[in-house]
Symmetry: C2
C-alpha cells in the first residue's frame, strides 16, 4: 500500500506499507511520470494474466435476467479468448439483494438466485451502494437494469466512488440538463465511464457511432430516426385495406405495446430518445423543448380505459383512413419520425416517398440516419431491431466487457 496525497506537482508518497512493515519515505511521483508508471503497471498487469470485472447488477426483470444468462453462457469464452474474467459480485431486485463472491458460477437457468441463497438481505439502494463502495474492487461496474428514478439518484455518488456505470435506463439522460450534466461530469471528473448505448436502439450501434462523429470533429447537420419498434410496426403495416385500430390491437397482442398503447402513441418514449441523441451532439436541451405532433384525435386521448380507447380508435377510423389515402395518393407512406436539425428536435407523422430511406422500412425495425458534414451527400444509416430483452441485454453486455477499452 502507498500512502500519500495528490500535490501540485504530482503524487506525494510518504510511506509504503506491506503487511505489518511500513517504510517511511518522501518521494514525489511527478505528473509526467504517472502516465509512464501507468503504462508499466498496465503492461505488468496484462502480462501477469487475466483482467477482472466485478459486476454489481440491480434489476432482475427481463433485461437483467437475460444479461445474467448471456454472461453465464459467454464467461468461459471471454476468459479463454479475451483474458477477461467476469465476476458477478452482487444482484438485486426491488425486494432483495445478494452479495456473494461469484454469483455467476452458481447461476443456472431458471433458478431464482435470490430465493435460493441464504445470504440474501432486504434490498435498500443506499445500503447496496455502501456495500459496493466498501468492497472497493478494481474493475467494479454498476449495472442498472431497472427503469427506476430512485436508482438513478445514486449515479453521481457511485461515479464519484470511481465505479463505472452501464445502463439501459434512459432516465438519467432524459431528465433535466442539470441532472444530465451532474452525471456526465461525475464520470468525467473521476475518470470512470457512464455508458448507455442501449438507451437508443437497444443493441444497435447508435450512440457510439454518434460519439465517434462528434469527437472526431464532424458537424451533425441532421438526424432522422424511427426510434420506437411499436410505432415502426404500426406504421409499416398501415396500408390500404387495413384499419388503424386493428394494427394497434395486433401490436398489443404481440406484446409490442405498453399495457396502454397510448403510452407509445403519445411519442414520449421517442422524445426521450431524440433528446438523448440531441444532447450527445452538444446541445443544451430539455424534454419540453421537443415538439411532439399528437397523432391521436382528442376522443382517443380522453378515453378513460384501454377498452374505451380502442372503441374511440375504431370510431375515428375515417380520420386515420383519410391520412393514409392522402399519403398513398402521392405514392407515399406514413412514418412517425423523430428529427433533429438546426438545434431543433421534433417528432412528427410524415409522408415519405420511395426516395426516402425510411420508405422501405419493415417489421418493427428502428432506423437512424446521420447526415453530417462528412456524410453530407449520403447519410450514415443504422437499421435493425431496436427493442427486446436479448438485443438490449447484449448491448449492455458489450459495453460492460468493452469498458476502458478492455477488448480490441
Amino acid at each position: 500500500k502507498m500512502f500519500g496525497a495528490l500535490g501540485k506537482n504530482g503524487i506525494n508518497v510518504v510511506a509504503i506499507a506491506q503487511g505489518s512493515s511500513e517504510y517511511n519515505l518522501s518521494v514525489v511521483i511527478e505528473k509526467s511520470h504517472i502516465a509512464k508508471a501507468l503504462n508499466s503497471l498496465h503492461e505488468a498487469f496484462f502480462l501477469s494474466g487475466t483482467k477482472a470485472l466485478n459486476i454489481f447488477l440491480v434489476g432482475l426483470g427481463l433485461i437483467g435476467s437475460t444479461l445474467l444468462k448471456q454472461m453465464k453462457k459467454t464467461a468461459k469464452f471471454l476468459e479463454e479468448n479475451r483474458s477477461l474474467r467476469i465476476y458477478v459480485t452482487a444482484i438485486a431486485d426491488t425486494k432483495e439483494m445478494l452479495f456473494e463472491d461469484d454469483i455467476l458460477m452458481n447461476a443456472t437457468e431458471g433458478k431464482d438466485l435470490l430465493k435460493q441463497s441464504k445470504s440474501t438481505e432486504k434490498m435498500d439502494m443506499a445500503t447496496f451502494v455502501e456495500k459496493m463502495k466498501g468492497l472497493d474492487y478494481a474493475g467494479s461496474v454498476f449495472v442498472d437494469c431497472t427503469s427506476s428514478k430512485e436508482v438513478v439518484k445514486h449515479y453521481p455518488q457511485i461515479l464519484k466512488s470511481a465505479i463505472s456505470i452501464v445502463t439501459p435506463n434512459k432516465l438519467a439522460n432524459s431528465g433535466t440538463m442539470k441532472e444530465y450534466k451532474e452525471v456526465q461530469k461525475a464520470a468525467h471528473n473521476h475518470g470512470v465511464k457512464f455508458l448507455y448505448e442501449t438507451n437508443v436502439g437497444a443493441g444497435l450501434p447508435v450512440i457510439g457511432a454518434l460519439k465517434d462523429l462528434v469527437n472526431s470533429g464532424d458537424d451533425i447537420l441532421k438526424i432522422e430516426a424511427i426510434l420506437s419498434g411499436t410505432l415502426s410496426f404500426i406504421f409499416n403495416h398501415f396500408k390500404s385495406g387495413v384499419r388503424f385500430v386493428d394494427i394497434v390491437k395486433q401490436a398489443k397482442e404481440k406484446g409490442f405495446t405498453e399495457p396502454d398503447p397510448r403510452d407509445d402513441l403519445s411519442g414520449m418514449d421517442v422524445a426521450r430518445k431524440i433528446l438523448i441523441l440531441a444532447r450527445e451532439t452538444g446541445l443544451s436541451i430539455e424534454l419540453e423543448d421537443i415538439e411532439i405532433e399528437q397523432i391521436l384525435p382528442k376522443s382517443c386521448e380522453k378515453a378513460k380505459s384501454v377498452e374505451d380507447f380502442f372503441k374511440a380508435l375504431e370510431d375515428e377510423n375515417a380520420y386515420f383512413d383519410s391520412m393514409l389515402k392522402n399519403a398513398e395518393s402521392q405514392g407515399k407512406v406514413l412514418r412517425f419520425i423523430a428529427s433533429l436539425e438546426n438545434g431543433k428536435a421534433k417528432i412528427s407523422l410524415q409522408s415519405v416517398d420511395n426516395q426516402h430511406p425510411f420508405y422501405s422500412l419493415s417489421g418493427s425495425d428502428n432506423i437512424i440516419s446521420f447526415t453530417t458534414e462528412r456524410y453530407k451527400e449520403r447519410p450514415l444509416v443504422v437499421k435493425g431491431p431496436g427493442a427486446g430483452a436479448e438485443v438490449t441485454a447484449a448491448g449492455v453486455f458489450a459495453e460492460i466487457i468493452g469498458i476502458n477499452g478492455n477488448l480490441g
Copy 2:
C-alpha cells in the same frame, strides 16, 4: 522512478529514485494490489488534468493528410471538452520523416510540413520504429496511413514495445492466418490495441459492431455485404437503357475506380474485406478459401491496356445486357454481394428482389447486414459511404481518440 521486476507474486520493488536521491527498499506489490493501484493512479491522473496521446503517423497521402487536418481542427475541442491532448510527434512519407515535439501546432493547411522543416531526415521504417521506441512516451499510438506491406512487417515489433496501432491498411489482416495471428497476439499479449475499423466500410461502424456481437456471445449466422463503393455505384446504376461499359467509364471518370477498373471488378478488394470480417467471427480462413465469381468475360480479362479493356467491354455488351434483362424480367436487380455463411465466404453477382435489403441501395453506398442468433428474424444493418478520404480519416481519428476507452 521505481526499480524492480515482475516476480511470481507481483512486482518486486527494490528502489525508488527521485532526481539524484535513491531509496533502497524491498516491497512486493502483490498482483491483487496492482489493479487497485492502477485505479488510484488512474483517478489521480484524471483529477490532475488532461490525458495525452502521442501520434506517430506514417503515410501522408490523401488519408494521412486529411487526418492531420481533422486533428488540427478538432484538437482544441478535444482538449477543452474531453480533457484529451493530441500531440503529433512524428510524421513520415516514403521519402522523409520528421520527429518534433508538437507537429500539429505548426500544421497549417496546404503547407508541406516535411519540406518546411529543417529537422527532416531520410525516411527509413526501421529507424522510425527505433526512434519511436526510444522516446518511450506514454499514450503512444502508431498510425499507418500507407497501404504498404513493408510497414506492416514492423507491426509485431511495435506492439511488443507496448505501442498501440491504428490503421486503415488492410494488409496485416488480409495476409496469411499466420501473419494475422502474430499481430493479433502481439497486441493481446502486450496489453495494447491494434485497431482497424476502417479496413471495412471506412468510417461506418462495422468491425466494432461485429466485435460487440461476438464478444457478447452472439452466434453469427450470416453476413451479407456490398463492400466496394465502386461496384456498388456500377450495379446501382446498371438499369435497362444503360450500357455496362458506359457506367464503368462514368465510374472511372468520377475517380471511383482504380486506374485499371479491372482491379475493382476482379473482386479482390472485396475478398480482403469479407476475409477480415470472417476472421473477426473466429474463423481460421485464408484469402484463397474465398470463392470469387468472376463477372468479366475472358476477353475483358485478357485485354492488355485499359483502353483495350474498355473496347472489349463494349464488344461484350450483349453479355451484360442479357444478365440485366434476365434479372429485370423477374423484377430483380443485380448486386455484387460478399457473403459469409456456414464458415464459407464467397463473392457473387446476385439478382435480388424488392424484399431484399440491398434492392434499394443507391449512390455508391456500402451496406453490411448481420444475421445472428439474436438478430435472427431481422438483421442488424449498417449503410452509408464506405470510402473516401474524409470518412476514412475520421474513422481512424475516432479510433485514435477512443483508444483504451479514453472517451465515454
